[in-house]
């Protein structure tokens, strides 16, 4: 099977030749940058370099899909947030002050898709599609509405609003949902096969589960209805209290950190949803050795994981051998 056939088999509830392995989040590391001779910050800013770095997931790691971008700031920048460069070693972040206050009415710019670095991201997807053809899927990332709203208002302001003035969040969630959806459509037009939605701020580590259920879930569901390709929903941390709702958003694949229970996700979401995840990116993948990584992968597979993946964005200093060890385990299943 080609990587694409392998992933399609899982999505169609058929048996793949072996378990696929790829990232819902960024999998770029310094080692891969060296091998590809493509570096940051260019990889965050220039389409050609971004594509080259993403390609390493397939050519260097042997993952079943490639993934762009490597940060969570594209929509926010295009909506008016200030961006702080991560320079050579880090990823771009959102800088202070935020563009809006809670009483403001946010605007969706007409030229959204040509703002910031979005044209470069779309260029990267086109290049990857040309390089990989129909063999290897291109996963393209968008950011969840709640996380974008947090960038527009500053996360703590949004968190206060969840209890004090939750209705005031709606205009921001609307604009944020539109941003992610428009970007997803453009990414699909450029050649993306799978859309991965990262929604860090929707984690129960940050908001109450009832806020997810009563607000974010609605926007997530609306967004996923508009996206024609398979969707991955990734929310960081222990999502046990909300995983049932995540399963109702229309995402075909849920990406879980090992902090969350894959077994519980299966119980609450039923047999149709595909579970993706595997290794804790900080305490295991970054800090430990290959044997520990393999053991952690096996444990998660036993819990019901169907696509092996780093649990979250890979730390760029992660040893190459640890990522290769994941592929080795996937091939055994």
């Amino acid at each position: 099977m080609t990587p694409k056939e392998r992933i399609m088999a899982v999505l169609n509830h058929q048996k793949p030749d072996h378990m696929p392995c790829f990232g819902a989040n960024s999998t770029v590391t310094y080692d891969q940058m060296e091998k590809m001779q493509a570096f940051w910050p260019d990889g965050h800013e220039k389409g050609e370099v971004m594509a080259k770095q993403a390609l390493a997931a397939y050519t260097v790691l042997g993952f079943d899909a490639v993934r762009v971008p490597f940060c969570q700031t594209f929509e926010a920048e295009a909506l008016g947030c200030k961006i702080k460069s991560g320079k050579e070693k880090g990823i771009p972040g959102i800088d202070h002050p935020p563009p809006y206050k809670l009483d403001d009415t946010p605007e969706f710019p007409k030229d959204f898709l040509s703002r910031g670095r979005i044209p470069e991201l779309l260029k990267a997807v086109k290049i990857l599609k040309k390089e990989l053809g129909d063999e290897v899927p291109v996963v393209a990332g968008i950011i969840g509405s709640f996380t974008i709203a947090g960038a527009l208002l500053e996360t703590t302001t949004l968190l206060r609003a969840t209890f004090k003035k939750p209705e005031k969040m709606r205009p921001f969630l609307e604009v944020a949902e539109k941003a992610g959806s428009e970007l997803a459509k453009a990414l699909i037009d450029a050649g993306a096969d799978i859309i991965s939605c990262e929604d860090m701020t929707a984690s129960p580590d940050l908001i109450a589960p009832s806020t997810y259920r009563d607000y974010e879930m609605e926007y997530q569901t609306r967004q996923f209805e508009k996206i024609s390709v398979p969707k991955i929903l990734h929310i960081c941390g222990n999502v046990d209290p909300i995983v049932e709702y995540m399963g109702k958003t229309g995402a075909e694949i849920l990406s879980l950190e090992p902090k969350a229970s894959a077994k519980l996700a299966r119980e609450k979401c039923g047999p149709d949803v595909i579970l993706m995840g595997g290794v804790d990116t900080a305490t295991t993948l970054f800090m430990k050795d290959e044997d520990t990584v393999k053991k952690a992968c096996e444990e998660q597979i036993a819990q019901g994981i169907q696509i092996l993946a780093p649990g979250c964005a890979v730390a760029p200093g992660t040893p190459l051998g640890n990522l290769l060890a994941m592929v080795e385990v996937a091939k055994r299943h």
Binding site: V10, H13, Q14, K15, K84, G86, K89, G90, I91, G93, I94, D95, T155, T156, L159, R160, T162, F163, K164, P204, D205, L206, I207, A208, P209, S210, T211, R213, G237, P241, E244, R266, E267, K268, G270, P271, L275, T281, A282, T283, F286, M287, G304, Q306, A315, P316, G317, T318
Partner: protein, 248 residues
């Protein structure tokens, strides 16, 4: 392909299990203080001000701070520990407590006396100052003066703040593996400057193994440990004995 084998939970009402229910306990027998404490627990930073103004007619500012504001925040800390409260509620309660303390300080004509200073920061490159928000609130509620350096703080700034303020303890929070590498650098520079201050590090990506790999480092598992650790540091415990007590 893994399919659902266990159907035992299918007909359970999951929504009942969504959030733990727990009631705030009574904080003070005195109805005036109880009312103020309740505003802290409810995170109401508006109504708390008139309530304090009213209370100041019969109570001293220190009584209000200690027996209502701080006592209320300690109750919030308990609700957080037990998983009843989520982060937004802790932030709102902390806002209410701080507004209340400011009102009492106005009445005293001076700042309330604090036990000691603690410098807190979130690592350079990390904009997620979420864990630090709780650490600040809890230290504040326990009578420590928090020198809050905020998020995305360069290594040199942390060291400079320690030189200036001579805190009993310094804390670092990091959510990302890319940013926590600043901690050993800070520890090294503090050591070189002759400042053997217990350096409590914690947050999303930060593991015990990592923190105990450098001098001064003590791993903070939960934000709620911060006040207890600060008390130890205030009592003069070394970073070694604090590490032995809180880690491993």
């Amino acid at each position: 392909m893994k399919l659902l084998k266990d159907f035992s939970n299918i007909f359970r009402r999951y929504d009942l299990a969504l959030e733990k229910t727990g009631e705030a306990r009574e904080i003070s027998k005195d109805p005036i203080l109880q009312k103020i404490a309740k505003y802290v627990v409810d995170g109401d930073d508006e109504n708390i001000i008139p309530a304090i103004k009213e209370a100041l007619k019969t109570k001293t500012p220190l009584e209000i701070i200690n027996d209502a504001l701080i006592a209320g925040m300690n109750e919030v800390s308990r609700l957080w520990d037990e998983g009843v409260y989520f982060l937004p509620q802790v932030i709102l309660s902390s806002d209410a407590m701080n507004a209340g303390i400011a009102e009492c300080e106005k009445a005293m004509g001076k700042s309330m006396e604090r036990k000691a200073k603690v410098v807190t920061h979130t690592a350079e490159g990390d904009i997620h100052d979420i864990g630090q928000v709780i650490v600040n609130a809890l230290l504040n509620a326990n009578g420590f003066e928090v020198i809050n350096l905020g998020a995305d703080v360069p290594v040199e700034k942390v060291v400079a703040a320690c030189k200036e303020h001579k805190p009993v303890m310094v804390t670092g929070t990091a959510l990302m593996t890319t940013t926590m590498t600043a901690f050993p650098k800070i520890a090294h520079m503090l050591k070189q400057a002759g400042l053997e201050i217990p350096f409590v590090c914690g947050g999303g990506a930060v593991s015990e193994e990592f923190v105990t790999s450098y001098e001064l480092g003590i791993w903070g598992k939960e934000a709620s440990q911060a006040p207890g650790m600060a008390e130890d540091a205030l009592a003069g415990e070394s970073w070694q004995s604090m590490r032995a007590k809180w880690n491993g």
